[in-house]
Every structure is written in structure tokens, then in C-alpha cells.
């Protein structure tokens, strides 16, 4: 009823005709369907590569931060500073620093490719977030678990590998997927360094024709990727509750 009412109110609003013309024009939507896929492919490739790097780097940072040995303090300190800075600086500014700033240093080993530089900025930013997720997962495992593992004769590494991490990772899969949904959308930010990805192509078309429909079309493309991810997160939460026999409480 409420949804119907809201829909009716929108349809009867004085500006609906303008909105339909400027945001939901079928003509410009069809045009976008032919021009946006090449840009979307750029996003998908960037997303997949960055995601793989983030998983490895994020877990590595989390493990470094949980290392107990006092002698490793400098390594832990570097990890802490990295996470603090990468999480604290807005992604857009990181992209400018990586994309334009590092190149200005003039080192020949820095690739002059804006997609790689932008991808590196996003990978660093998201690794920092994801390392915190992993760390929370590791810390959520009850201390009695590694203690028991050590007691039965496992080494510290074996305890981490076979007892702590499996439980930690299972616990953090939903928040991890949540971060990846964020990443699918943030790869669009790399466009400020030049590559023509989907949001940029939508902007070019919108600026060319003075019509916002290409943005709406781009949003539809994003939903194709993000909606399944969101459903997977929901499903896993449900499964988690089921496993702990907690459904009865809901």
C-alpha cells in the first residue's frame, strides 16, 4: 500500500514529466546500452584484479599485526601506520597522490599507466580496511582455541593455520563481501586518472547530450554485479545463524 502510494505520488508529481525525460529517456537508455559495456568491462577487470590483491595483502597485514614477538615491533609499527594512513585519507585524494604524485618523482620503475597506478591506490586503501576485518575475525576466536591447539602439541603456525584462521575467516566472510560491494563501486573513481570506465562514459554522454539517463543506465549495470553479491551476503548470514541454532531467537 505504502509503496503503491509513493509510486503514485511520484507519477503524479508536477515534475514527473521532466524527470522521465531527463533521467529515464528510452532513447538515451538504448544508446547507453551500446556504449557502456566496454567501460563496464574495464571496471570488472579492475575489480577482479584489485580484489585478489586486497585479499592477500589484507590478510598479510592482519597477521603481521597479530604477531606476538617483541623483536618484530618495527614490522608491526609499519603495518599500523600503513593501515591508519590508508584508512584515514579519502580514496579520491589517494588516487591523485598515486596517479599524479608518484609519477612526478620520475623513477623509471613506476609504470606510466594510470590504470595500474589507480588500481594500486585502491588496493592499498581496501587492504587497510580488509586487514581490520581479518584482525577482528582473528580476535573473535576464543583464546581457549589456540591454547588448546598448543596444548595438544601443534606449533604456533599450525595453530594459526588449522585452528584460528578457519574459524576467523568463516566469521568475517559477510563483512568482507560487504567491503567488496564497496570496491565494485569505487573502481569508478580511477576514472579521474583518465581511463574511460563505465561511470566516465556515462558522464561523457550526459555532458554531451545534457541528459542524465546514461547515469541511470550505468546504475543498472552496477546492480547486475552488486545485487547477487548482496544476496550472497544475506544467505551466508542466514546460514551462520542456522549453524548456531540461533534462528529460533529471531
Amino acid at each position: 500500500m505504502v509503496i503503491l502510494g509513493v509510486a503514485l505520488a511520484i507519477l503524479l508529481s508536477p515534475g514527473w514529466r521532466t524527470v522521465r525525460e531527463k533521467f529515464l529517456s528510452w532513447h538515451f537508455f538504448k544508446m547507453s546500452l551500446s556504449s557502456l559495456p566496454t567501460g563496464f568491462w574495464v571496471d570488472v577487470r579492475m575489480f577482479l584484479i584489485i580484489e585478489a590483491i586486497v585479499l592477500v595483502l589484507g590478510l598479510a597485514i592482519a597477521l603481521i599485526r597479530t604477531l606476538p614477538a617483541p623483536v618484530l615491533f618495527p614490522v608491526r609499527a609499519v603495518a599500523v601506520v600503513f593501515v591508519d594512513v590508508m584508512r584515514g585519507v579519502p580514496t579520491l585524494i589517494l588516487l591523485y597522490i598515486f596517479g599524479f604524485g608518484f609519477l612526478a618523482l620520475g623513477f623509471s620503475f613506476i609504470p606510466g599507466d594510470e590504470t595500474i597506478l589507480g588500481g594500486a591506490a585502491l588496493a592499498c586503501s581496501y587492504s587497510a580496511y580488509v586487514s581490520e576485518v581479518f584482525r577482528a575475525g582473528i580476535e573473535s576466536v576464543n583464546p581457549s582455541q589456540p591454547a588448546a591447539a598448543l596444548a595438544v602439541g601443534l606449533t604456533r603456525t599450525q595453530a594459526l593455520r588449522y585452528v584460528v584462521l578457519p574459524q576467523a575467516i568463516r566469521a568475517v566472510v559477510p563483512p568482507l563481501l560487504n567491503d567488496f560491494i564497496g570496491l565494485t563501486k569505487d573502481v569508478a573513481l580511477v576514472s579521474i586518472l583518465g581511463p574511460q570506465e563505465i561511470a566516465r562514459i556515462a558522464q561523457i554522454n550526459a555532458d554531451y547530450y545534457f541528459n542524465y539517463t546514461p547515469y541511470v543506465a550505468a546504475a543498472v549495470f552496477y546492480l547486475v554485479i552488486t545485487l547477487p553479491l548482496i544476496r550472497i551476503v544475506d544467505h551466508m548470514r542466514y546460514r551462520g545463524l542456522q549453524r548456531q541454532n540461533a534462528l529460533v531467537l529471531m
Binding site: S191, P195, D207, Y209, F210
Partner: protein
């Protein structure tokens, strides 16, 4: 307050504003036609002409990022139009309007927007444009020492990596006229385009010719304007107004007067360098 008194108050304000304009600029107000004087115009803010441009505002169109100083080509054009409409400089207020927002549906926050906007028929479906106040061809800028420095035709530039600013006609000009082998890089602002050229992320950038002159005279000291070429359909700039704005015929009238009196040509000469010396690439 009753409706009657508020209407009277509005009328009084309008008359006062009109009188003020007449007192300040008797000549300009007298030449403007009856329907297009400051007192009778429908404006976003009563009694003042609200003019928009993007920020930062770049030379040679604006100077020191201060549109209100009257310096720079578009600032000068805006004040000249305001003068024709009967507004003294003190009644011209500037507002920032990002280019991406300028064509949004709904009420506008400006009376007109002057921001190097190219007139196209597709865009004219969404907004009103004045008649053109400037024609600006496209310019190709490279750095000295580039392997493309001695290119003498557009075909010789096909393998170059191009950088352009988003929303400009430069992108469609590059795509349609040069057919580059790699996709042009598109940047948010003119500054980012310049940075990309400096750091060799791109081999060449395409900007309007006047901007090309400005960039190579200062911001890119090693830069050189390789040549000029025309975007398909040319590149005429107009003031952007709300669709069906009552002000559109008035600014057109003002521009026509500035054209016939030679004032527009004088402003153009004062702020814009002639492109006659730059080779036309085909």
C-alpha cells in the same frame, strides 16, 4: 502581510531597482528596449543579475579565479551584457555552477551561465542557448621533444595517446577527426589534463585554441601548439539559460548590440590571441 501589500512592496522594489539602474547607467538603460530593462526582467534574485561559471575559472576567460574582477574574456563579456541590460557592475553577482550541474532539470540558481559551453542541437533540447559570442577551434598541444612535435597532419597523430577534459567538445573532435588508435584519456579538470601531459601519461592534449595559447605561455613552458582543427559542426560558444527562459531574447538582443557596436570584437581582441599563425591540420 496581505497579498496586496506584498505585491505593492515588490512593485516598489522593482521601481526602485529600475530607478537605481537608470541613475547609475543612464546611457545603457536608455538604449535597452523596454521589455529588456533591469526592472522588467524576470530574475532569479530580484534587482541583481546572477551570473554563473564553474570553479576554478581559468584564464584567458577569467583572471585570478575571480570572475567578479571584470578581467578575462568571459568576465568582460558578462559585464558588457549586464551593462546592455541596465545593470551596473555592482548589481552583477557571481555564483559557482559546476558544468555537470548546469543542465540539471528544475529551477536554476543563475540567470545565465557563461562557461565556455559549446552550442549543440542535442544540448539545446535541455537548455536555452544565447547566440554565439565566440568561435573557438580545437588545438593540439604537445611538449617539445615529443615524437609528434613535427606532425603536419591529423593522420600522423593517430598513434598518439590523447588527453582531454570531460564535458568538452574536444573528445568528440578527437574521436571524429583523428580516429586515434588508443582510447583518449578523459580527465576531470583542465589542471589534470595538463598534469597528464607533463607526466607523459599522454602524448598530446586537445583543448580549445585560446586555452592552448594560455597553457603554452605559462603552465606548460615546454609545450607547443602543434596546430588547430575544427570539431565536427564547429565550436560556437553560447550563454546557457534555463529552457524557455524569458531572459534568452534579452541576452540575444544585448549580444546583437555588442556585436554591431564593435564592443564584442574589442573585448575579444583585448583578451583572446588570434589563431592566424597556427597551422590548420587536416
Amino acid at each position: 502581510m496581505t497579498r496586496r501589500t506584498s505585491l505593492a512592496a515588490i512593485a516598489a522594489t522593482l521601481i526602485a531597482a529600475g530607478a537605481l539602474a537608470l541613475a547609475a547607467l543612464p546611457g545603457a538603460a536608455a538604449v535597452a528596449a523596454a521589455a529588456c530593462t533591469s526592472g522588467s526582467l524576470s530574475l532569479v534574485h530580484k534587482g541583481q543579475l546572477t551570473v554563473a561559471t564553474d570553479a576554478p575559472a581559468y584564464p584567458p576567460y577569467f583572471e585570478n579565479n575571480k570572475p567578479a574582477n571584470g578581467k578575462g574574456f568571459e568576465s568582460a563579456v558578462a559585464y558588457a551584457i549586464a551593462g546592455q541590460l541596465g545593470f551596473p557592475s555592482s548589481k552583477v553577482k557571481w555564483t559557482v555552477e559546476p558544468f555537470n550541474d548546469s543542465y540539471a532539470p528544475g529551477p536554476k540558481s543563475f540567470d545565465f551561465d557563461i562557461n565556455e559551453i559549446s552550442i549543440t542541437s542535442a544540448r539545446a533540447q535541455a537548455v536555452d542557448f544565447s547566440t554565439s559570442y565566440f568561435n573557438n577551434p580545437q588545438a593540439i598541444v604537445v611538449v617539445k621533444g615529443s615524437k609528434f612535435q613535427h606532425a603536419t597532419s591529423l593522420a600522423a597523430l593517430r598513434t598518439a595517446r590523447f588527453g582531454v577534459q570531460v564535458g568538452t567538445t574536444s573528445l568528440s573532435a578527437v574521436t571524429a577527426e583523428i580516429h586515434p588508435t588508443s582510447q583518449p584519456q578523459v580527465f576531470n579538470s583542465s589542471n589534470d589534463v595538463v598534469t597528464a601531459l607533463r607526466e607523459h601519461l599522454v602524448d598530446a592534449i586537445v583543448v580549445d585554441l585560446a586555452t592552448g595559447f594560455y597553457l603554452t605561455s605559462g603552465e606548460i613552458p615546454h609545450g607547443t601548439v602543434l596546430g588547430q582543427f575544427n570539431a565536427p559542426g564547429g565550436d560556437s560558444w553560447g550563454l546557457l539559460l534555463a529552457k524557455h527562459s524569458k531572459l534568452t531574447p534579452c541576452v540575444d538582443q544585448a549580444l546583437a548590440k555588442l556585436r554591431s557596436s564593435g564592443k564584442l570584437a574589442a573585448i575579444t581582441k583585448r583578451w583572446m590571441q588570434s589563431g592566424a599563425g597556427v597551422p590548420v591540420l587536416k
